[in-house]
């Protein structure tokens, strides 16, 4: 009786066991002879499916995000056949941001791994929805320090820095030649040299066409950095963008407006229009991020080094600086340990040194890195894509990465931009405009730090 009680298997349990064996057999590899003797202890990789959410991914399209994402999945699957990855897209913009928020913050579901930026990292980390990357000390030291700081929440790294997107100056060499202006040597120039060039490059042709020396797409505050101005103190606790250095930087920007070297619609110029007008030869120097290199390369008539080149931000009173942003890959916190592990393996691949060469080796080759990598071991390949990119790859070291503050978009859009506009229009002095913003900005910064 005792023996019966120990080993008795009823019919239901027997059928369950049989079914389990059947499922395992069906899901397992085909019955090929194995080189490894059974029972040797080698683990058979478990199949896991994960979901990757990528903005601007549209299946079948040729957008950079689509092509690189499809390539990334293919490259990853070649190394990790047991993982299946489904990509879900959505256009850039608030609607997709809200889709992310609802899924991650409200439903605590959605992507296993996803691209994200700035304030979102903090928002999701604060809600406990990000899984901490298992990075070794060596891996951590491989990342750009400021990029890693931008992904740190309450002392913990909460996402993988992907790339640093620097802004710099694109210059139209044809216009420089036409006006007899010498391009900056090795891309380096002081603010005074830059202003002088912009003035000479602002002219009207005999046919009545007006050319402007300089334009920006109204999407950054680069000039306010060049004399040492910074938005916050190093602890990101105090708003410092009304310091003497920031005021001085804004005054330099205002000088460009006063000299009328920018087109009259410079306050409402959007990125696409500014790029189109640079390409049409209406603007001699345009401030845009690294992604525009591919736009210019797509035009066969425009040759790098002959028709266009890139240069650093004009240098002010302090060391060379640049404005830039950081992209991140994040893994969502969840109960399913297999999915979470797979998501981390994939996130490491997306931000690591293997993906660039993997995609470059594909037919046709795919440029994975749309901006310089935030990891030293992955940084080399970006410069291999194009000589202009080789120059850009070096900019990461002096790029000011905007620290993550969850209320930044409110500070920026509602208060800082209008204040900047008032100064650029000459309605307020630079100091007056920045001083007026400071109390509200500090309040919103305090709120973000709560």
């Amino acid at each position: 009786m005792e023996r019966d009680a120990g080993v008795r298997i009823d019919r239901r349990r027997f059928l369950q066991a049989l079914a389990a064996v059947g499922v395992a057999t069906a899901c397992g590899p085909a019955a090929a002879p194995s080189a490894t003797p059974s029972g040797s202890g080698t683990a058979v990789a478990k199949p896991v499916s994960i979901e990757w959410w990528r903005r601007n991914y549209t299946p079948g399209s040729q957008t950079a995000e689509t092509v690189t994402s499809d390539g990334a999945v293919k490259g990853f699957r070649a190394r990790n056949a047991n993982y299946t990855i489904t990509i879900q897209g959505g256009p850039f913009g608030p609607e997709t941001d809200q889709k992310f928020d609802i899924a991650i913050l409200q439903q605590k579901a959605g992507p296993d791994v996803f691209h994200t930026t700035g304030g979102d990292v903090l928002k999701y980390a604060a809600a406990g929805q990000l899984s901490e990357p298992p990075l070794s000390a060596a891996e951590k030291s491989d990342f750009n320090a400021s990029a890693l700081t931008a992904t740190t929440y309450r002392g913990k790294v909460v996402a993988y820095p992907l790339w640093i997107v620097p802004w710099f100056e694109y210059i139209n060499l044809d216009l420089f030649k036409e006006r007899g202006v010498t391009p900056p040597k090795d891309g380096n120039w002081t603010y005074e040299e830059f202003l002088d060039a912009a003035k000479k490059l602002t002219f009207k042709r005999a046919d009545g066409k007006q050319i402007y020396g300089f334009a920006h797409a109204n999407d950054e505050f680069a000039f306010m950095l060049i004399d040492g101005g910074r938005l916050y103190d190093t602890a990101v606790k105090t708003w410092t963008f009304n310091s003497a250095e920031a005021v001085s930087g804004l005054e330099r920007w205002v000088a460009l407006a006063k000299e009328k070297v920018m087109p009259p619609d410079f306050l409402t110029l959007n990125p696409n229009d500014s790029q189109a007008r640079f390409i049409s030869g209406e603007i001699a120097i345009l401030q845009r991020p690294s992604a525009m290199i591919n736009v210019l390369n797509a035009d066969a008539k425009w040759k790098y080094g002959t028709n266009w080149d890139i240069a650093n931000f004009p240098k002010g009173k302090t060391a060379q600086t640049a404005w830039g942003g950081v992209g991140f890959i994040a893994v969502r916190e969840q109960a399913d340990a297999d999915k979470k592990t797979a998501a981390h393996v994939f996130a490491k691949y997306l931000t690591g040194p293997d993906i660039g060469p993997d995609l470059k080796a594909m037919t046709p080759p795919i440029e994975y890195w749309l901006a310089p990598a935030a990891r030293t071991s992955a940084a080399g390949i970006y410069g291999e894509y194009h000589p202009a990119k080789a120059k850009v790859a070096k900019m990461g070291s002096f790029t000011y990465v905007l620290p993550n503050v969850s209320t930044w978009s409110e500070i920026d859009q509602k208060y800082l931009r209008p204040a900047r506009d008032a100064a650029l229009e000459g309605k307020k002095t630079a100091k007056q405009a920045l001083d007026e913003v400071a109390p509200t900005a500090q309040k919103l910064l305090d709120e973000a730090n709560k």
Partner: protein
Amino acid sequence: MRAALRRHGWSYLFVLPTFSLFVIFTLLPVVQAFVLSLQSARITGGDWVGLANFVTLAEDPVFRQALGNTVLYSALVVAAQLTLALVVASLIQPLGRQGQTFYRALFYLPLVNSAILVAMVWRWIFNPNPYGLANTVLGALGFDPLLWIGSSDQALAAVILSAVLTIPGGGVVLYSAAMGSLPRELYEAAEVEGAGPLTKWWYITVPLLKPTTLYLLVIYTILAFQVFERVYVMTNGGGPNNATITIVQLVYSTAFQFGRYGLASAMAVVLFLMAVGVAVVQFRSLRSDVEY
């Protein structure tokens, strides 16, 4: 209740699907907006804060600017559109039936265009560069170009002008239809008394069109209060120095860009109360007992 049920019986059942949709998709969201306006709601939830959001709005200079811009835009655009619709409808009224139909269709057709496309065209018209259409016209007339949407002084005027210069096709059609049903005897009697065309228009047509005017006034005011895409496309959502920011634009950015759903709901409630208040005043001042 019982009597009503006995009297109308099954008819309530037929109304039920529409009524349910109205409750789910219209009434509940409005109620929810009121509830959210009393909370510090964000995507993850929020706490009950009473009227704090409304106090924040009262102290916020950007909201006050949006409020002022919305009121100014609405007052000028509604007045211009009503006048324009009335005048255009009056001008096509004497034409034959075919002529009337042609012009009604002509003025109504642009309404089927996407509002975004129309706003993009106006953005090009008021481009501050010399090649903007408005500046080209000014140049041809010997004037210096203006900055239009590129200046905080002129951007709101450009946005208002873009709305004023668009003939309100819907208003033209409604006025035109209403004019067709006005009693001829009144005009004949006036002619016997020696009234000219302008006198007849002012003393007979305009007063008898009061019900149509009231309807258009309320509808146009609500639409003007809700102006969004024109501002968003023409001036990148607020223009230089927030010169063209309106309440709905601010609701959009506050909710979907800054994630402050409670504050955005409070703005929506203010807009709702404004619309209701103005509509009540309009009804009281323009309601008419005239029947014809």
